[in-house]
C-alpha cells in the first residue's frame, strides 16, 4: 500500500474507530462502575452485553415476524435499546444478589466474587447456547438502516447506522455523567465508592446503591450489545468474550474505577484499533488491543485518568 492509499482510507477508518470506540466505552462503564464500588471485576459483564444483544434482536425479530409495517429506526431502535437495557439491568442486579453478594457479605477474599463471576460468565454462555442454539442470529440491520442512508463529509462516507450508533453511545454516556454528577443517586454511588461505612452513616442504604450500580452498568452493557449487533449484523452466544475483553481493556486503559476514564479509554482503544487496521494488518487488530492492555498494566496500571491505587481494601 502506498502512502496515498493509506491517506485515502485513514479518515474512513478513524470514523469506524471512533464509532466502535464509543461503544467499547459504553460497555467499559459496566466494568469500571462495579470496580469503583466493590473493587471487583465483573467478568460476567461480557455475557450481560451478549444477552443484551439477544434481547434487542428478539424485539426486532418479533416485529419482523408480526409483519409490522413501517419499521423505522426512530421508534424500533429505542424499543430495542430499552428492552435490552431493562433486561440486562435486571440480570446484572440478579447476578450481584445471588452470585456476588453472598460471598462479599461473608467477608470472603476478593478472589471469591471474582471466581464466582467467571463461573457466572460460563453459566450464562451455556444457558444462552442451550436455549437459543449455537448458530448465529442475524440482525437485519439493512431493513432499519438502508445502505443508501449515508452522508459524505470531506470525502468520507458515513452511514446512518454509524452516526446513530455513535450518537446513542455518546448520549447514554452523557446521561450517565449527569446522573452520577448531579443526582442524589449519583452522589450516593460516589459516596459508597469513596467510603462505604461513612456513606452508611449518612443514611445511605449501601446494598441498594450497589444494586443500582449493577443495574446501570449492566443496562449500558445491554445497550452496547444492541449497537454491536446492529453494526456487525451477527450475534452468537460467544460474542461477549472478546467484546468483554476489549471493554475491560478500555476500562483499564482509562483508569479502572474512573467513569470518564472508561469513556476515554474506549475511544482511544477504538481509534488505535482502526490505526492498526490501516497501517499494519486487519488481522492484528486484537493483538494491538491486548498489547495495549499489557502495556498499560506494566507501565501505568492506574490508567490514563486513574489516580494512584488506594490502599484501602474493599469487598
Amino acid at each position: 500500500m502506498s502512502w496515498a492509499d493509506i491517506l485515502q482510507i485513514l479518515p474512513q477508518q478513524l470514523v469506524f474507530g471512533l464509532a466502535l470506540g464509543t461503544v467499547y466505552g459504553l460497555i467499559a462503564l459496566g466494568y469500571t462502575m462495579v470496580y469503583g464500588i466493590l473493587f471487583m471485576i465483573n467478568f460476567a459483564h461480557g455475557e450481560i452485553f451478549m444477552i443484551g444483544a439477544y434481547l434487542g434482536w428478539w424485539v426486532f425479530a418479533l416485529l419482523l415476524q408480526a409483519k409490522v409495517g413501517g419499521l423505522h429506526p426512530a421508534w424500533v431502535l429505542p424499543l430495542m435499546l430499552v428492552h435490552a437495557m431493562v433486561g440486562a439491568g435486571i440480570l446484572g442486579v440478579c447476578l450481584e444478589r445471588f452470585a456476588y453478594r453472598p460471598l462479599y457479605l461473608r467477608g470472603a477474599t476478593r478472589l471469591g466474587p471474582l471466581i464466582s463471576a467467571v463461573g457466572a460468565s460460563i453459566f450464562l454462555q451455556n444457558a444462552v447456547m442451550l436455549t437459543q442454539g449455537a448458530r448465529m442470529k442475524v440482525y437485519m440491520t439493512s431493513l432499519l438502516f438502508p445502505w443508501s442512508w449515508r452522508i459524505q463529509v470531506a470525502g468520507v462516507s458515513i452511514s446512518a447506522l454509524v452516526l446513530v450508533m455513535t450518537a446513542s453511545a455518546i448520549l447514554m454516556m452523557w446521561g450517565l455523567h449527569l446522573l452520577v454528577q448531579r443526582t442524589t443517586l449519583g452522589r450516593s454511588i460516589r459516596a459508597v465508592a469513596e467510603d462505604r461505612e461513612m456513606a452508611a452513616i449518612m443514611g445511605v442504604n449501601v446494598r441498594r446503591v450497589i444494586a443500582a450500580t449493577f443495574f446501570l452498568g449492566s443496562a449500558l452493557g445491554g445497550a452496547g450489545g444492541v449497537l454491536v449487533g446492529l453494526y456487525y449484523t451477527q450475534i452468537d452466544f460467544f460474542m461477549g468474550y472478546s467484546a468483554g475483553l476489549k471493554a475491560f481493556t478500555a476500562a483499564v486503559l482509562g483508569g479502572i474505577g474512573n467513569i470518564h476514564g472508561a469513556m476515554l479509554g474506549g475511544i482511544v482503544l477504538g481509534l488505535v484499533e482502526s490505526l492498526a487496521v490501516t497501517f499494519i494488518n486487519p488481522a492484528y487488530k486484537d493483538v494491538v488491543a491486548f498489547a495495549i492492555l499489557i502495556l498499560t498494566l506494566v507501565f501505568r496500571p492506574s490508567g490514563i485518568l486513574g489516580e494512584s491505587v488506594p490502599e484501602s481494601e474493599k469487598v
Partner: protein, 240 residues
C-alpha cells in the same frame, strides 16, 4: 434521650464492649473519655447501628434502636462527626453537605437551603470553599465540614468522635467553642475524647471507658478535679 444498658459488642470473636451503660439527657453535653482501644469509637458505631450489639439495649427517645439499620437510626435524629473527619474528599464541600442531608432528601428544598445557611453562618469558611473538593481543604476546614455535614441531618443528638484529633491547639479551642454553640442551639451532644481537660471543661457529665467497660461516671467538675482518675484511666498528667 439516649441510653445504653449493659451493651456488649463483638468484632468477630473479640468482645470489644464488655458492658457499657450510659445515659445522655436532652440538652446535655456528655463526654466519654478513654485511652486508645478502650472502645470509644465502637460505642459510637454501636449507637449508630454500624455494628450490632450482641447483648444489651440501646434506646433513643424511649424507643429501642439496637438492631435497626443505620439509615433509620440516622433518620430518627442521631448523626456522627467521625474520628479523623472522613469527609468525602472527591466531592465538593457543597456535595458533602448534601450527603449530610441524605436522609432528608424528601424535605422541601427551601428547608435544606436554610440549613445550609445555618452551617455557613457557623463556618463562613465553608461557604467560601463551597465548590472546592473536600480533599483540598486543610485539616481544620475538614473538621468544620465534618461537623457541618452532620448538622445537615438536623440531629437532635450529635455524636462526636475525637473532634480535637490532629488539630492545632488554637483550632481545638475553636472547635469546642462551636460544640457549645451547637449545644446552645438545642442539640444534645455526646463527645468522645482523649483530650479530657478540654472535653470536660464544656461537658456537664463524663464517663470513663476502659477495656470496654464504663469504670467511672461523675459530673464533669468532679472528674476535672479528680487527678487520680485521669492518671489511672486516661494515662495523662492532666496536661496535654
Amino acid at each position: 434521650m439516649l441510653s445504653l444498658t449493659d451493651v456488649v459488642t463483638h468484632y468477630g470473636p473479640i468482645r470489644v464492649l464488655k458492658s457499657v451503660t450510659l445515659e445522655v439527657r436532652a440538652g446535655e453535653i456528655v463526654c466519654l473519655l478513654g485511652g486508645n482501644a478502650s472502645g470509644k469509637s465502637t460505642t459510637m458505631k454501636t449507637i449508630l447501628g454500624v455494628v450490632r450489639p450482641t447483648a444489651g439495649r440501646v434506646e433513643f427517645e424511649d424507643q429501642r434502636i439496637d438492631g435497626l439499620p443505620t439509615e433509620s437510626i440516622v433518620r430518627r435524629g442521631i448523626s456522627l462527626v467521625p474520628e479523623a473527619r472522613r469527609i468525602f474528599g472527591r466531592m465538593t464541600v457543597w456535595e458533602n453537605l448534601a450527603m449530610g442531608a441524605y436522609t432528608r432528601r424528601a424535605a422541601p428544598p427551601g428547608e435544606l437551603a436554610e440549613d445550609r445557611e445555618r452551617v455557613y453562618a457557623l463556618f463562613p469558611r465553608l461557604e467560601e470553599r463551597a465548590t472546592q473538593l473536600g480533599g483540598t481543604l486543610s485539616g481544620g476546614e475538614q473538621q468544620m465540614l465534618a461537623i457541618g455535614r452532620a448538622l445537615m441531618a438536623r440531629p437532635r443528638l450529635l455524636l462526636m468522635d475525637e473532634p480535637s484529633m490532629g488539630l492545632a491547639p488554637v483550632l481545638v479551642d475553636q472547635v469546642f467553642d462551636i460544640i457549645q454553640t451547637i449545644n446552645r442551639q438545642g442539640t444534645t451532644i455526646l463527645v468522645v475524647e482523649q483530650n479530657a481537660t478540654v472535653a470536660l471543661s464544656i461537658a456537664s457529665r463524663g464517663y470513663v471507658l476502659q477495656n470496654g467497660r464504663i469504670v467511672v461516671h461523675d459530673t464533669a467538675e468532679a472528674l476535672l478535679r479528680a487527678d487520680h482518675i485521669r492518671r489511672a484511666y486516661l494515662g495523662e498528667e492532666g496536661e496535654r
